[in-house]
Symmetry: C2
Amino acid sequence: MPRHPERVNLTEKFRLIQEHWRPKVVGELNGQEIKLVKFKGEFIWHHHANEDELFLVWRGRFRIEFHDRIVELSEGEFLIVPHGVEHRTVADEEVEVLLFEPASTRNTGNVEDEKLTAPIGDRLQL
Amino acid sequence: MPRHPERVNLTEKFRLIQEHWRPKVVGELNGQEIKLVKFKGEFIWHHHANEDELFLVWRGRFRIEFHDRIVELSEGEFLIVPHGVEHRTVADEEVEVLLFEPASTRNTGNVEDEKLTAPIGDRLQL
């Protein structure tokens, strides 16, 4: 934890992200991380055994599918997916999402996917 | 942690907050809380012995004063104040701020203030 904390501008940071489904760490505190990610298309069904996961929409919209229902999220809306709950994220158009979750949470949770599983702890190159 | 997670709309939730300097819990995950708070005026100098604290501006602007510098934060900007670092928040105009910090973090940290110390774990009445 740096002793000289820096301001982070979300719009500027999202501009640096080109790939979809690759969360980038932009802050850390209390063993948790703030990550920014762009979604487009369909992710895979997965759950996180131990980690609750917050999704906050910064720009755009997407939906989180559960086995028993679907929740649509628009700008300025968040949802916390409890650990153990299987879910899938789907974005018809590109969406910018802020994640809060424990450090070292794997994006695909219990699933290892050759294409979609992203590096853990990947930081933006500034 | 409810097994049936609900969508939270930040703008709607901020509309329910009337007081300044009284954080309201709107979500919890991994032992952390998401709180919404409106600032206006000058807070008091304090630090948190163990908790790092994230401030994200939703609407408006304010500044965080440290003993050696001042950081201005506008909409869409966040800053993480590390534990142990004394700071003071100042808002010339009302500002809407999202906090992310460990559950049961006291808003005035090491200081007990008759007027400013807010109840811990205060939730929005919905």
